[in-house]
Amino acid sequence: LPCEDIMVRNPDSLSPDTPLWDGLMMLAERGHRIIPLVSGDRQYQGALTRLHLLSLVLPDAVTIEDGLKNLGFVRGQMPVLRARLEAGRHLTLQEVLQRHPVDVPTIKPGTAIMEAIWLMYKDGFGVPVVDDDNRLLGLVTGKAAVRALKQMPV
């Protein structure tokens, strides 16, 4: 099966100019792990993931490569995390993606489903499906993959 057979068509998406707060609300309220960002004509511009949210609130000393491996000694940080989130509130989603780059692979509609499942296993979030002109066609998610598997004859 190619990915286009199981992908969610017309998934929730946002414009890169959307304020961070609106993006976070959509992540939290709809339970998404990933929201593709598209400009006019559905041009894919990247994706907001839960990792972006975590990168915003955690100190750089942890999120950088080879950073701290354990933070159990840092106590009483909830107000600090809240302040960090507040400080990033004015950013647009595009700015968030620039400041905290997260590698989000994309796939083509004809890509084998196995590849999409492997990418989801590796990264922990859904995989955007784009055409040759980089237009967003859909999103392969864990739920969509399970649904497709359940519908298959044993």
Partner: protein, 447 residues
């Protein structure tokens, strides 16, 4: 099974070994300096060509590799990698910060001492890799600039590393080639390193102490850190500190018994791996040991292997003896002038170039001056001059030492980049001052 035919060294096309080896050395060094190709690839290619062009035969090339240095570096890297898993380095950094009540200028001073001590006893790069994330976290929490702390960390790591046989790669190379002991380094370089560290701490205090301000509320945040929670594996901590103590004792007491530091370090690494993995199933053991070996900086190890062979090539061809004679002609064969020249040339070159190839080349060059200067004892001040110049010179710029580059890479990732020229404006004069102090020390103590 038939034995491989013995490889005889005969330079291709009957060319002069002096020219062929010199050209290979210069091309290798130029490629290392250009930094366009990874330095370990360049060194290994240079080594391969040295053998294939017939400057060295296979046996001479293998003999040229200082396996004591390789074993010492590898053993210490494994030891520190396994120890680091316990969280002890974060523990000490946080404990130290709390001991000075999280006052930013006091943290700056204690960071200098801590980094210098760790760097003296462990590899510099590893020390800064373990300390920099904690420094970034603490400065972030206190909302003070990270730059003064990172700069002090660079200075202190190079200065601290100068004090011991195992502190800095140039010292490892010199100690191994000449047969100097851990105590030889500590007694000859320790006192002046202490003076230099205090001077640099004084400069840092004058430059930054008034500008590093925070609030009581932010300090309270850092003071609420529970350092004991930084320890992730108490059993491993006890085992690691036990083995590290044994290894240090081995460096001190092994030398008179003829046990080389490389043997001590690798045996210590094996002992710690045994203690850490004892009782685990085969699969977990395999994973853990694989991870520990993965922490070895193989680029550095292969770089050393290649470089040893390249230097062996020019040494066998007689090029280094010619350089030594030229150097002695410049200095009039006077040991004091020679030592001072070596000190300053090493320092300036080490500030802008990789000091490892320079030191690797200088060791046989200095060794060949033995007869001219009057025996091995006359060479001792020259070895200290080389160690002081190469190690302290590393402070002159961001590219002066691998530890500097590691700190700069962290700073870049944490979006607090250290500018090359901005750092050099401070670092180069500081380096010159420290080398001037070392110069006075060398002259007063040895001549």
């Amino acid at each position: 099974m038939t034995a491989a035919p013995e490889h005889t060294a005969e330079v291709i096309f009957g060319w002069s070994p002096v020219w062929v080896s010199s050209v290979l050395l210069v091309v290798t060094y130029a490629a290392i300096i250009s930094e366009r190709i990874n330095r370990s690839i360049v060194a290994l290619l240079g080594a391969g060509l040295m053998i294939m062009c017939g400057v060295l035969n296979q046996d001479a090339a293998i003999r040229g590799i200082d396996f004591n240095t390789i074993a010492l570096l590898t053993g210490m890297m494994v030891l520190v990698a396994v120890t680091g898993k316990s969280g002890v380095f974060q523990y000490v950094a946080i404990w130290m910060t709390k001991r000075v009540n999280a006052h930013p200028p006091a943290i700056l001073m204690s960071l200098a001492v801590l980094t210098a001590v760790f760097s003296a006893l462990l590899d510099n790069v590893t020390t800064v890799l373990l300390l920099t994330p904690v420094v970034l976290l603490i400065t972030d929490q206190l909302q003070v600039k990270a730059y003064p702390y990172l700069a002090v960390e660079i200075f202190a790591s190079n200065i601290g590393g100068t004090a011991t046989l195992i502190g800095d790669p140039p010292n490892i190379l010199i100690g191994s080639a000449v047969g100097l002991s851990f105590n030889d380094f500590l007694f000859n370089l320790g006192p002046i390193v202490l003076v230099i560290l205090l001077v640099v701490m004084g400069i840092a205090w004058l430059l930054w102490s008034r500008r590093l301000e925070t609030t009581d509320e932010l300090r309270a945040r850092v003071l609420s850190f529970t350092e004991s929670d930084a320890i992730t594996d108490r059993k491993l901590l006890v085992k690691s500190l036990g083995v590290l103590s044994l290894v240090l004792a081995g460096f001190v007491f092994g030398h008179p018994l003829g046990i080389q530091p490389g043997t001590v370090a690798l045996t210590g690494a094996a002992l710690l791996l045994l203690l850490d993995n004892f009782g685990r199933d085969a699969e977990t053991q395999s994973e853990e040991v694989h991870k520990a070996y993965g922490e070895v900086e193989w680029i550095t190890i292969f770089f050393f292997v290649g470089l040893f062979i390249v230097v062996a090539g020019v040494e066998q061809a007689g090029v280094l003896e010619m350089i030594a004679n030229q150097l002695l002609a410049w200095t009039g064969g006077d040991p004091r002038n020679t030592a001072v020249t070596i000190l300053w040339v090493s320092a300036i070159l080490s500030a802008i170039l990789d000091n490892i190839p320079f030191v690797a080349t200088m060791i046989p060059t200095i060794a060949s001056m033995e007869a001219e200067l009057g025996g091995p004892d006359a060479l001792m001040p020259l070895w200290w001059a080389l160690a002081l110049g190469a190690c302290l010179g590393g402070n002159g710029s961001l590219v002066g030492a691998s530890a500097n580059l590691s700190v700069a890479a962290f700073a870049e990732r944490a979006k607090r980049p250290i500018r090359f020229l901005g750092f050099m404006k401070l670092a180069f004069p500081v380096m010159l001052l420290t080398v001037a102090i070392a110069n006075v020390y060398l002259v007063v103590r040895y001549f």
